[in-house]
Amino acid sequence: MQLYSQRSMESPYWNEYLETMPREKLDALHLRRIQRLIKYAYEHIPMYRDLYDKANVKPEDIKSLDDFIEKIPAIDKPDVVRYQGQQPPFGDSIVKDCEDYCSFYFQTSGTTGTPLKEIGYYRDMVTNGWVFNWWAHGIRPRDVIFLAFPFGTFMAFWSAYHSATALGAQIISSGGATTEQRVKQILEMKPTVLLSTPTYALRIAEVAREMGVDASATSIRIVSSAGEPGYVLPTIRESVERAWGARAIDLYGLSDLWGCDAWHCPVHLDRLHLTETVAHGMVLDEDGRPVPDGGQGEWVLTNFVNLMPLIKYRTHDVVEWHKEPCDCGRTWIWLRHGVLGRTDQMVTIKGTNVYPTAIQSIIGGSEGLSENLEIHIHAEEGGSAVTVRVEADPAVAGGRYEELQTKLANDLRYRIGVAMKVEVLPPRSLPRYEMKAKRVFDHRKDN
């Protein structure tokens, strides 16, 4: 018995109709959805009525995407958190009188401040991008997906769980298991797809090695990750693919926006496609003006959900966006190298703008160093300073640490153009994480 028709099984697209829709038609569809969403939000969500009244804009003023860009004010996480704080837990940030439709509660991880509380209807959960990503990379109902995720209030892999159900794949959720137990489950149940953060995929492989198990010899054929800068960066992709002997596929999602996400192109591994069925994306410069196709700026998203839509939401992620059709046949916006950095983590050292992801990428490609690292940003007279702390690879003798330190400092200075302090540490000096690893520590506001 086969769940899908043969033609669907052979299709590289989960939804060819929308994934290959010409840009003009796609933009017309976005405009219609945005107009409906703004009207709905203005009528039912007090936060938007308040914001739009203050900006002196009414839903009927939005007649084009240009109007949307120019007239609708962008919102930021602290704005929404403030509205929620006035009348916890959700205040005026959600649809009025929607209690009967509240299906799922999540909150953001708090990596960048006060967590945002999120409430959603069932439909919001089943329309995200995981399944587009998986289908494009050949995952089908016969695959067995192993979810190495604690299933708390962080949305990330909950949406993957529901996407796996939508696809029809078998799910093994390893909820409260330890890493050792997860290795044993992988050996016993022979899943074909591993879902975890990139950091934790490497951690499982590390623990497997300590248990005498070669992760690259297991049944895993695809490692599908999200939650951190991932496999769109070659150095991170290569280390996970080497550890697991499997293809590593990436997904960039924002739990703030109900998993509205971008995912790994199957043809160009340095590209992520925005799931344009669930969101509208644009890139704006520091003054809120649109950045032309191919340019870099802040990623601003609008998600099409029922209870808590975020309209023109500032992600603070810096991306380079492209709207020309991709060789994979998709017309959906693609981002080169995923997220290049964060506007709020940009470091200016002697006039040069540096993003921590660039540092991470260089370290990932350095011989003798592991992926376990910390980047500390400090305030300094005339700008900022960066200290990089990185663990040496377990196979490297302690006597080589100084040499690796000097080499990395030189590489960073040569490739980024500024000097940074580097410390090479013995293995296991830095903390391990099961979910999002904390890599960047910004001390500039500590004093």
């Binding site: 018995m1 086969q2 769940l3 899908y4 028709s5 033609r7 669907s8 099984m9 299709s11 697209y13 989960w14 939804n15 060819e16 109709y17 399944v131 289908w135 939508a166 696809l167 029809g168």
Partner: protein
């Protein structure tokens, strides 16, 4: 439950399954097939709760 209501629902489910068949034959859109499958599962489950008998037979035999 009133028999006419059950019969009406069975007719609607049958029509919906025919539509699902049509989608499978013509569209080749996995996402549509997936959503149709859940509509079918939910409708069939609703009928089961109304005392219909074909739910399990359908689950075992449906193969197109």
């Amino acid at each position: 439950m009133e028999e006419p209501l059950r019969q009406s629902l069975i007719q609607k489910l049958t029509a919906m399954r025919e539509l699902g068949e049509e989608v499978r034959k013509t569209a080749a859109l996995p996402c549509i097939e997936s959503h149709m499958r859940f509509v079918d599962v939910n409708c069939a489950q609703a009928l089961w709760q109304l005392g219909a008998l074909d739910y399990q037979e359908y689950e075992l035999d449906y193969n197109c």
